[in-house]
């Protein structure tokens, strides 16, 4: 496909007798933010490390813009920018030195403007060990994009960040996507994946168990919709009336939550019941399951 940037086909990675990744297939299109999700040990890191050229695959095809990461590392290095989960920088290296160091190896002029854009103005001469976690992450991201690679791989980019730093990084990721860059995002944060990604693949025990947009994935689960109801006199709390299409009922704080396969009749029946009981509605929410709920459904069975 013309806009295909990355292809993973029948990919397999083995460590001794342990099969870490077993026949994984996915592709990523230009300008996408593609999420790679999965619990610890699912095979995310092995997949990313092979894409980054850090490890050799044991089978299948890996292709980034026509380049085989294992066989053509010299071509690969200018095609990808990687923000590693670990620091990746010497403790005594300053932000400015890091920018000059990595840009020199990529053969491009240093991008000090990126340091300012990522809120590191005034920190250019601070050593890496003296930066906060958020500043370290932002510096790593600045270095990953400084040579303008078409593909960026982000491994847990917002782990350990405060709310405002997360929001800043998310805004930057969206800017980069808008500029046409392709982003591979590995994360444990389902809210982040749901908010940021165009498509995700969920890995479990070395295999992909689901792939698609977050909306598609949440719609293809067991098909339940959450109907959460809070009323003035809380008559639903002790009421076990079998509302139509409801398969499960739970109480969470002041809400009664119904899992419905057909929310229309369920909501209509609840409202009719409240009216008959002379109770007054305070809050009514009809929600699809979140990606996190879908993820848990897939990974825990």
């Amino acid at each position: 496909m013309e806009d295909q940037v990355l292809l993973v086909k029948d990919f397999r990675k083995v460590y001794g007798d342990f099969v870490a990744v077993d026949g994984v297939n996915f592709e990523v299109q230009r300008g996408e933010i593609f999420g790679l999700l999965g619990p610890n040990g699912a095979g995310k890191t092995s997949t990313l490390e092979c894409l980054e050229g850090l490890r050799q695959p044991d089978g299948g095809t890996l292709d980034i813009l026509g380049v085989n990461p294992a066989r053509e590392p010299h071509k690969l290095r200018n095609l990808i920018g990687v923000q590693l989960q670990s620091s990746g920088l010497p403790a005594t290296m300053t932000a400015r030195e890091a920018m000059r160091f990595f840009c020199a190896y990529h053969g491009v002029a240093p991008r000090d403007d990126l340091l300012e854009r990522l809120g590191l103005q005034g920190k250019q001469d601070a050593q890496f060990q003296g930066l906060s976690t958020g500043q370290q992450r932002r510096l790593s991201l600045a270095l990953a994009v400084a040579h303008k690679p078409p593909v960026i791989i982000l491994d847990e980019p917002t782990a350990g960040l405060d709310v405002s730093s997360r929001a800043e990084l998310h805004a930057l990721m969206q800017e980069l996507r808008d500029e046409g860059l392709t982003i591979i995002l590995a994360t444990h944060d389902m809210a982040e994946a749901e908010k940021m990604t165009d498509r995700v693949a969920i890995l479990l025990k070395g295999k992909i168990v689901a792939t698609g947009s977050p909306t598609e994935l949440t719609a293809t689960g067991a098909g339940f919709t959450k109907v959460s109801v809070r009323t003035e006199r809380a008559v639903l709390m002790d009421n076990h009336t079998a509302f139509p299409a409801v398969s499960q009922r739970i109480i969470r704080e002041e809400y009664v939550i119904y899992w419905s396969i057909d929310p229309g009749p369920t909501v209509a029946a609840i409202l009719a019941h409240l009216s008959a009981q002379d109770d007054k509605l305070i809050d009514l929410r009809v929600e699809r399951p979140s990606l996190e709920e879908r993820f848990l459904e897939l990974t825990t069975g």
Partner: protein, 269 residues
């Protein structure tokens, strides 16, 4: 500025910024030099004759064998080499540039020792300055290559200390620095030929000071050069980017090949 120059400038500054490296590159050898100048020359005035080369070799071995491997192993353990690999930093630069900058720091310390020993402690200045400089450079190269090899084969920081001390301590005891090789016990003397410091000290004694030696000097020069080249080549060959990725081109025991020239030298004297 080229990538090499940026890398070199950063590594050189690290030798001053990192408190451990500052200590091992400058404070430790210069402090030891001052102590030996005050104490040893008073106890044994003959030490003045060998003080300059002995302290120069000490400074080089301290910086390259004791100081250099640790930060390289820590960088590998911290995943910094992974980041370097992704960004196209070659293995050769990762090893050779710290080797060069460490050698540079050691040469600065050596220059301070060479210039101040005659002034403050009556240390003998070299007779043949050209030979003195050449032997200093050769010793720095060989020891830096040995430091690189130690950093490559060490599984972790603790192992690094072990390997470094395995070279450093015998060098101090039977490597000709504290006492001349000809006063060593007969049974120990052959083992001194296994140490680069013994050959370096003999070269200084013979070629830079025109004094009699017990080793064949051209052979010692060849041994030092060969072992340095072997250690450097083996470092590149055995280099591992990642602590967690155990796949490497050869077994770490291959590093023992770098000692082969010294073993041969035991039978050539």
């Amino acid at each position: 500025m080229t990538a090499f120059m940026h890398h070199f400038a950063y590594e050189f500054k690290t030798g001053l910024r990192n408190p451990s490296l500052l200590m091992i590159n400058y404070l430790f050898p210069l402090g030891f030099f001052a102590m030996m100048g005050f104490v040893m020359t008073a106890i044994n005035p003959l030490f003045q004759a060998s003080m300059v080369p002995a302290m120069v070799i000490f400074a080089i071995v301290a910086a390259t064998v004791l100081g250099m491997p640790g930060p390289l192993v820590e960088a590998r353990e911290a995943g910094i080499f992974r980041s370097y690999k992704i960004n196209g930093v070659p293995a050769l630069s990762i090893l050779a540039i710290p080797g060069l900058t460490t050698g540079f720091h050691a040469l600065i310390t050596a220059a301070i020792i060479t210039l101040t020993a005659p002034l403050f402690f009556g240390g003998h200045a070299p007779v043949n300055v050209g030979a003195f400089v050449g032997i200093t450079l050769l010793t720095a190269f060989t020891c830096a290559a040995l430091g690189m090899l130690i950093s490559v084969i060490s599984a972790n920081s603790r192992a690094t200390i072990l390997w470094s001390q395995l070279v450093f301590l015998p060098s101090m005891l039977i490597g000709g620095l504290m006492m001349p090789l000809d006063v060593l016990p007969e049974a120990v003397r052959p083992f001194s030929a296994l140490l680069p410091t013994s050959h370096a000290m003999q070269l200084f004694t013979g070629w830079a000071y025109n004094e009699p030696t017990v080793f064949n000097l051209p052979v010692s020069a060849l041994i030092l050069a060969l072992s340095g080249m072997l250690a450097f080549a083996l470092s590149i060959y055995l280099f591992n980017w990642d602590t967690h990725n155990q796949i490497r081109r050869g077994h770490p025991l291959m590093a023992l090949l770098a000692l082969a020239p010294y073993v041969v030298s035991m039978f050539l004297k």
